[in-house]
Point group: C2
Chain length 214, copies 2
């Protein structure tokens, strides 16, 4: 390093937690404004005012770093969409959807980048896929009864519907000409439509009946 003519320290020495928090906060900012592959670790380090080696001291790889910046948001989302088991299934779904859509409105750019960039990083693809899987299981479990075997059509319908949700949400935040309630209605209506078309009419009937009677 260049000798420090000013006499002060050549760099500031932070505690581990402090430095790590700073890097994660920076990562959240950078990864939502640039694509994963367009951000080099060298540039991230430069913007953080540290060396690349230090960045690698805190995170074993670029993918791990990216994943770490997502983890906090992912945890928060999962916790917020955790359904209230006391509610009837349909209301559980409605409430979770509401929270989900609210979260997307708050994190527009991040959500967009996440879905588009998902293909680049296997770990992130796995995260998205795991969220989809868990949600599908939750829905199928909630509507078809606990340990009943799930008919293939219903499984495909729910799986496809989760993709529908992402596509519709991307369209939503791109155009912003639909209210959140309208979108939620579209999503739930489509889920029912898909389940009906898959030959699972009775679960839809059960669902809606339980809602109107309760």
């Amino acid at each position: 390093m260049v000798p420090d003519a000013s006499g002060g320290p050549a760099y500031r020495r932070l505690g581990v937690d402090e430095r790590r928090a700073q890097l994660i906060a920076l990562g959240e900012k950078l990864f939502t404004s640039s694509a994963y592959s367009e951000l080099s670790m060298a540039r991230i380090a430069r913007e953080a005012g540290i060396s690349k080696a230090l960045l690698y001291h805190y995170f074993p790889s670029k993918q791990a770093y990216f994943q770490a910046t997502l983890q906090a948001a992912a945890d928060e989302l999962r916790e917020r969409t955790e359904p209230d088991a006391a509610l009837p299934p349909l209301q559980q779904l409605e409430r979770s959807l509401d929270v989900y859509l609210g979260w997307i409105e708050e994190h527009r750019e991040g959500y967009e980048k996440l879905l588009i960039t998902a293909g680049e990083v296997p770990e992130v693809r796995a995260m998205v896929e795991e969220v989809r899987s868990a949600t599908a299981t939750r829905i199928l479990g909630g509507i078809a009864g606990e340990d009943q075997p799930v008919p293939p059509g219903a499984r495909t319908a729910v799986r496809g519907w989760l993709w529908f949700m992402d596509g519709a949400c991307l369209d939503w935040i791109a155009h912003r000409d639909l209210s959140r309630d309208e979108l939620r209605g579209l999503l739930i209506g489509t889920l029912f439509g898909a389940l009906m078309a898959s030959g699972s009419a009775e679960v839809v009937a059960t669902l809606t009946a339980a809602a109107t009677e309760g």
Copy 2:
């Protein structure tokens, strides 16, 4: 190059079209068996038995090369799903879907890799997005009348449905426990369900009425 001890030519010299065709055929094979980022241009050149510089002589970049290997398949798919304007809208849709699903069955691995890898290559993402956009316009134009303004809800519904299609198809080829007819029924039923839920009930009625009367 190492002096050729055998006395024969050090390399085979091919015509431009021949070499290009060979490289595209090789690319189709390699890109369906490995992910885009896992394939280096050096390795592709090695497998083709040529130098990396020659590969770059035929294709200006790795992305352009990848895109070129997709172009043939994309053209074929687009041509095959071109609807017959003489048919009523619903039958157009059914026939195009049938062709589409058949194409996916033929190109399972390629389709899977394509959707998963789409995020990595901007050009490919643009291709997929363009196909979705064109299909959406085709569907919306066919059902809502030619130059009528499309209500936002219907647009979002169709856009989401195209994502639904990809998600359902991925589930379909992953599990293979649904017949093509069942899947097609699920897709069309879901499209109707989505349009109904978006408040475009009348277009669905028009569509199905035209089908049964025609």
